[in-house]
Symmetry: C2
Subunit: 201 residues, 2 copies
Amino acid sequence: MLELGPAPEEPCLRADAARNRARLLEAAARLIAEHGVAGVTMEAVASAAKVGKGTVFRRFGDRTGLLMALLDHSGRQLQADFLGGPPPLGPGAPPLERLRAFGIAVLYRSAEQLELQLAAQPEACRRFSHPATQALRTHVTMLLRQIVPDADCELLAQTLLASLDPALIHHLTRQRHMPMARLESAWLDLVARVTRTRPPV
Amino acid sequence: MLELGPAPEEPCLRADAARNRARLLEAAARLIAEHGVAGVTMEAVASAAKVGKGTVFRRFGDRTGLLMALLDHSGRQLQADFLGGPPPLGPGAPPLERLRAFGIAVLYRSAEQLELQLAAQPEACRRFSHPATQALRTHVTMLLRQIVPDADCELLAQTLLASLDPALIHHLTRQRHMPMARLESAWLDLVARVTRTRPPV
């Protein structure tokens, strides 16, 4: 889904190249919002970002490379937010509040990028070993260890993350037409049950 | 994954045709146990069941049809067990005990058929709308409504079932080498947390 490992080449990009890349990704994100994933072609992105087509190919290789870069970009942003952003998602808030905020952030991010995330889901036998999944799992496990230290926090983290699976969010919101507010309440209720606390009022 | 709808043609099969079908499915299951899913070819099944290759093709169409029939067969068995089999999985036991037994039955069934279930996982956007998934969800939702009637039982059922996803069981047991006993305990603990009860001693 997301590639959240270190991006060693990023700091070496010259400032204008980095700006270029960001502009291309923004253009691609805009195209998706307007026309769905199908609307993202190398040509459309080049034209929307007002650069030559060759620049887009040079930067991302092909359309799949561009879509992966887009997910990667947003995955890194999420990771930066929960690792070092402002509370309650970032450090500084109590772990229970951070866990609540984490699920809601993931829910809304997935809802915004549903098509892209579904298109990028790895096959069944790699779905849970993907680096992006691992980064999220490490974070949720760490928070759970602070809230319910005696539990099997690794497996509870798997369950909590499974309830945020983009394919499930797609099913609930698009196929069964549940409003996001219901998914949000269900997340807060699930966190309360799993941690044996009370949901926030 | 599984096709759990009614099988209208089954009762019309002549007794020898039904026996034939069962023998072919048993042969295929044996081949999978011995050689993995890759070991299942139409020829190998015909030879193991001591029938002509034409019989296998006539009955299942092709290899995919055979694998689907195999999952379908075992899915129907599971469904028969939780709908009408002996307690604690079937009716007669308290709903909390049935829910515990349900997860353990699904866990061990998946562990036995992991390769087959992974190979048969539908693509992301159909994973949760598949009839087999729906049958399991209906059952878990029904049990939860008896245990925690005030909760959003539909969404809690989704979460409980997500923790039993064959792709997750594959990841935990094959890629992270967790013993089944740990997954079993985690299920009992999860049920206790979600229903705000105590795990069995």
